[in-house]
Amino acid sequence: MTLDVFIAERQGRWAALEAAIKTAKRGRLRNQSASDIERFGLLLRQTSSDLAIARRDHPDAPITEYLNTLCARAHPLLYRGRAWRLGAIGPFFATALPRSFRAAGPYIVASLTLLLIGFIAGWVAVDVRPDLRASLVPPSLFDEMARGQIGTGVQDVPFAAAFIIQNNIRVALICFAGGMLLGIPTAFVLLSNGWMLGTVAAAVRLGGYDVQFWSLIVPHGVLELSVIVISGGTGLMLGDAILRPRQLRRADALARVAVRAVLLVLGAASLLIIAGTLEAFVSPSGLPDGVKLAVGAAVGVLLYSWLLLAGRGPRRRRMFRFDRPAETPA
């Protein structure tokens, strides 16, 4: 077939495909009817077979480049991952998030270990050199404790909450993103948070303010530290994928874990809204210490029964299953 005949016979469907691409809104075909999408698929398949012919018979003709660009523009409109809708949020928190938490188990344990190493190091540092206490722990803390008003009477609580929530989300996202730098920033965040908690805990123990201190930390800290540990785990996942890609290329190994990890960290970070609210409203409040500790314990039990137990059992059937033989009728 000569180039002219090839073009004359088939340019109608190319123009049709081009027009169909223009009707896509925001990179999607969502606003179109089923028959339009079916027609789009047909046009794309026909045009890509035209592209294959053009490439064989007329490799240097401008039409070949035209057809390639046309197919390349149409392809992502039709081929795409599962769409994300608001309705997916419920199942995400009900099953997907706890499952990816458990799947990330070893990394989360490693992340927790780093936090504990920092904590123990801080604790030991203050124990060994109590004289350094003043340089390790903000002195104002002791003044407040001495006056018996540790952490009480925070004013403008909503702004405190907004500050705390945003700061913690920022830390969680940095823990994840630090995975791109082999997880080194992630490990640093975990160690330094553990260190801070360890030094302060050891210092207040020396001063004998244990109960006041822990009642100030525990209500929100259970949730907050869990989220930091989870985020740290996602960062370590990325770092591990880069360092030990196994059978895959590094870029592929990374991309494979990163999408799972980002959903885990975004889900976990959303819990920080609850943690920040507790931190601003409950922890510094005048509630009895016992109540505050009980709140922390209750949050912990809820959090971990959700993360460890939700979404177990057989997976629900997907809409499309090609990997399972058709069920035999009863």
Partner: protein
């Protein structure tokens, strides 16, 4: 592959056809980034001013003012980076800056960038921007101009704009014939395919050749055509002037394929 002027990545589709995507270069990515900043920075300022306005109404203590100030700083960060994430998520991978430059984020397998991939590349954007603009350094050395966020998300920024329009591709330059007559049928035309037809067409549609160059080229092409046709030594076609042979072969191929 198709277009010599750009680097491409090849994607094999489920129809077993290979598509070439033109990779966006560092220059156009940076221009897109600057254009986006022209929108993102004012939007961030507006967001922070709103935050400040709300705070100035409701904050009652010095302690609260400290929290509000620090909170506004964080809020600025979320607003700035949020602009890119929201813009990409809403448009399917084209921020206004990318759109203006004809760029688009896709996944390396050619499918559209989904929510998860866009989330990864936009969270990691913080590292790309904040750590001494490491993203630009990585893009400079990475063969496909991907930054860290692209590597993590398995995405790539490609040129989304058509480089050739249908009108220009289907209207190749006109063929100029001296003798618009196909002449007597030539034997052995079966040995000649569309590739040679295209080559003859290119020759016949070049107006700018000098007389001598045109004659030399025609002689060369005619010699190869005669080889390809496999005509016997005494065939009359061997006596035709080269340009006449070329025109007649071209016209007869044309007729044959109509």
């Amino acid at each position: 592959m198709e277009s010599g002027q750009f680097d491409t990545i090849s994607v094999r589709t489920s129809d077993n056809v290979t598509l070439g995507y033109n990779i966006a270069g560092l220059g156009s990515r940076l221009v897109a980034q600057i254009l986006d900043n022209l929108l993102a920075i004012p939007l961030t300022l507006i967001a922070v001013l709103l935050y400040g306005a709300i705070a100035s109404v409701f904050v009652t203590s010095a302690e609260g003012a400290t929290f509000a100030d620090a909170g506004a700083g964080f809020f600025a960060g979320f607003a700035y980076f949020g602009y890119f994430f929201v813009a990409e998520a809403v448009t399917g991978g084209k921020t206004p800056g990318k759109s203006a430059m004809g760029l688009r984020v896709i996944r390396v397998d050619g499918s559209a960038a989904d929510f998860g991939a866009l989330a990864v590349r936009n969270v990691i954007r913080v590292i790309d921007v904040v750590v001494v603009l490491i993203g630009i350094v990585v893009m400079f050395f990475q063969p496909q101009t991907r930054r860290l966020g692209d590597l993590g998300a398995g995405t790539i920024v490609v040129r989304d704009r058509a480089t050739v329009t249908l009108a220009s591709a289907v209207a190749p330059p006109p063929v100029m014939l001296r003798t618009p007559d196909a002449g007597p049928p030539i034997d052995g035309l079966d040995h000649i395919g569309s590739f040679e037809h295209d080559a003859l067409r290119v020759f016949l549609s070049r107006p700018g050749l000098s007389q001598k160059l045109r004659a030399d080229l025609a002689a060369d092409i005619a010699r190869r055509l005669l080889d390809r046709l496999g005509l016997p030594p005494g065939a009359p076609e061997r006596l035709w002037p080269p340009e006449l042979l070329i025109e007649r072969v071209y016209l007869q191929l044309d007729q044959r394929h109509r």
